[in-house]
């Protein structure tokens, strides 16, 4: 209050912790909020989660009514939230978009993982590892845009090789559903060379199903996102998990950090900041292993 002019509020609007990755996002956002408030006296960080696009639009309205200086938003869905975010922008708020690009680039700062990149990197790895030939099954997430981007890029990446996707189903980014789908895939297909499930949560279920069936034809399972247990397996040289593709939930912290730096330190932060969809292998796994993170 002594330096009223220096009191600033950053609102962080993110999806509710409805599966492993978003859970990680909420965790990192809350941690970073505490860290930033400690670092910048006079900064208030409000973290709000929403279970779906429509409620996120509501939350944006509500946050704006409270009076905010900057908004860090990880939209449920770009199409749905472009207009609501535009509304907020209209009130003169600094906008940082995380992960999912809006339809119009109205944001000031864009911090993202790379969904198509995740598909492309995964495809390249699968091709290489299988020697350009083999039958694979794909377990998809939920039918939303992120999933679609990853899967299209993946299919695109396989083009021209003899790696064939013999089946794909939705596993809803859930361990249990992935377990079931994998059990049934194993029944259905006598020979599967590899599994791509784009998400480490689902990989947990897939591995368990393979273990139970005792099948040896499956050479490897490729997940994604960089869950610590999976990174550990890569690090330990587990043959079924030879690699992982990063899609770190901590990107939200990066975005918050940059936003706060822009607000307080007057650093030039406008622009795009795209995190690589890094391929984690045995060689570099150590760098990406955070044993204390919940994800």
């Amino acid at each position: 209050a002594a330096f009223a002019a220096d009191t600033k509020t950053i609102a962080v609007s993110i999806p509710a912790a409805d599966h492993g990755w978003t859970g990680g996002v909420v965790y990192h956002a809350q941690q970073e909020a505490k860290a930033l408030e400690a670092r910048y006296p006079g900064l208030k960080v409000i973290v709000k989660t929403s279970p779906d696009g429509a409620s996120q639009a509501n939350a944006l309205e509500d946050l704006t009514t409270q009076g905010i200086n900057a908004l860090v938003v990880l939209p449920h869905n770009s199409d749905e939230l472009t207009d609501p975010i535009r509304q907020v922008k209209g009130k003169g708020v600094f906008i940082t978009v995380v992960d999912r690009a809006l339809r119009d680039p109205i944001q000031d700062l864009y911090v993202a993982g790379n969904n198509p990149g995740l598909g492309t990197v995964s495809a390249a790895f699968v091709k290489e590892k299988l020697g350009g030939k083999g039958d694979i099954v794909v377990i998809r997430g939920l039918p939303i845009v992120i999933d679609e981007q990853r899967v299209s890029a993946f299919n695109e990446g396989l083009k021209g090789s003899e790696v064939k996707v013999i089946d794909s189903q939705f596993g809803n980014w859930s361990r249990d559903d992935a377990f079931k789908v994998m059990q049934d895939f194993l029944t259905k297909h006598p020979k599967i060379d590899a599994v791509w499930c784009q998400d480490d949560d689902m990989a947990v279920g897939v591995l368990e199903a393979i273990k139970q069936a005792g099948r040896t034809d499956i050479k490897f399972v490729l997940g994604g996102a960089g869950m610590k247990d999976m990174v550990k397996k890569v690090m330990d040289g587990d043959a079924t998990i030879p690699a992982d593709v990063l899609y770190p939930p901590a990107m939200v912290a990066v975005a918050m950090d940059l936003t706060a730096a822009g607000l307080f330190d007057k650093l030039p932060v406008r622009g795009s900041y795209i995190l690589d969809a890094t391929l984690v292998t045995k060689d570099n796994a150590k760098e990406f292993y955070y044993p204390d993170s919940p994800f």
């Binding site: 989660t49 696009g53 429509a54 509500d62 009514t65 409270q66 869905n77 199409d79 939230l81 207009d83």
Partner: protein, 333 residues
């Protein structure tokens, strides 16, 4: 069959009705006071109009649900139906070749209403001609509608392409008339028409009779199937109306649109004082129920005490407490 024979206090029915009908509004008032203490900005005009406008979807759908539930039915498919109807509507707006923007919008709206009615009729058919439990029929169509949307959207989302059209359509959510947001007028219109239908027409009387005791209704010459069918069609139309207001807000539909709306709508109905076993319907209570839900989630965002992880718990607890308050009010009488 239960309850009727139990010794009841001989309060005249009128008094009784009154306090019960008022209870949800009392709960809403208490919540508003709570909201003010949580964050003084709660009573900002901007905030209140936001909350009101937003509650339009659930309120509209819940008015339809009031009919279905009063007639002793249930509809779990409304959320998926909303997604499907809005998806088809947007696809139509994107593809159709009608020159004038307003003409196109009008046609799209009519199409949405038709489709909503049709979806409702499908549910009604399963319940009446198929003689299945409403729970099963609408659980089935819930899956079917959503699947169809996902298929239409190719797993992604469906967005309005034309920016001009969006601009033309925007006022339907964001515009105001006489200072009140347009969606609020929609709530009022839907509720007034709903209340008229339910309380003042023969059809409404028949709805209550069917929900009260199907046999008595049949023996009184009411064609139970027709009444049931119509309640589901009304539900479909209400969903379509909600869609008309929903589409201009976000301009797109995804596979998660409307997820969980069915539970919210039913909750609004129950919180509003309509019993799930049928026979009694309270349109204005339902509207109040929808507002209560929206106010609770608004307060959750405005408050800064609750860990994000625990928001759901607090919300759940508030709903239970609000109902306890209501019940004790109604019983006091």
């Amino acid at each position: 069959m239960s309850g009727e024979l139990a010794p009841t206090k001989a309060a005249s029915r009128f008094q009784d009705f009154d306090l019960r009908a008022i209870a949800p509004f009392a709960a809403l008032a208490v919540l508003m006071v709570l909201g003010y203490f949580v964050n003084a900005r709660f009573i900002d005009l901007d905030n209140l109009t936001n909350v009101l406008a937003r509650s339009a979807f659930i309120a509209t759908i819940a008015v339809g649900a009031t009919f279905v539930i009063t007639a002793g039915g249930l509809d779990l498919s409304v959320g998926s139906m909303a997604a499907l109807v809005s998806g088809v509507m947007i696809l139509f707006l994107n593809k159709a070749m009608i020159g004038d923007g307003y003409m196109l919008l009008a046609t799209g709206m009519v199409l949405a209403l038709l489709l909503g009615g049709l979806c409702g009729a499908a549910n009604g058919l399963g319940v009446t001609a198929g003689r299945l439990e409403p729970f099963i029929v609408t659980l089935g169509t819930m899956a079917i509608f959503r699947s169809l949307l996902i298929w239409l959207a190719d797993g992604g989302s469906i967005a309005m392409k034309s920016m001009e059209l969006r601009a033309d359509y925007r006022p339907v959510y964001f515009g105001t008339i006489l200072g009140l947001p347009f969606p609020v007028w929609v709530i009022i219109a839907v509720a007034v028409i709903g209340a008229f239908l339910l309380y003042r027409t023969t059809f409404g009387r028949h709805v209550m009779a069917v929900g009260s005791n199907e046999d008595v209704a049949r023996y009184s010459g009411i064609s139970v199937g027709r009444v049931r069918m119509l309640t589901y069609i009304i539900q479909g139309l209400c969903v379509a109306i909600a869609v008309l207001v929903y589409v201009p807000r976000l301009g797109s539909t995804t596979s998660t649109t409307g997820l969980g709306w069915e539970l919210q709508a039913i909750t609004a109905v129950v919180v509003g004082g309509t019993a799930l076993r049928g026979g009694v319907g309270r349109i204005w209570g339902t509207i109040c129920g929808a507002l209560i839900l929206e106010v609770i989630s608004n307060i959750m965002v405005l408050s800064n005490f609750v860990s994000e992880y625990l928001v759901g718990a607090v919300q759940g607890a508030i709903i239970i407490i609000a109902m306890l308050v209501q019940r004790s009010l109604a019983r006091r009488n």
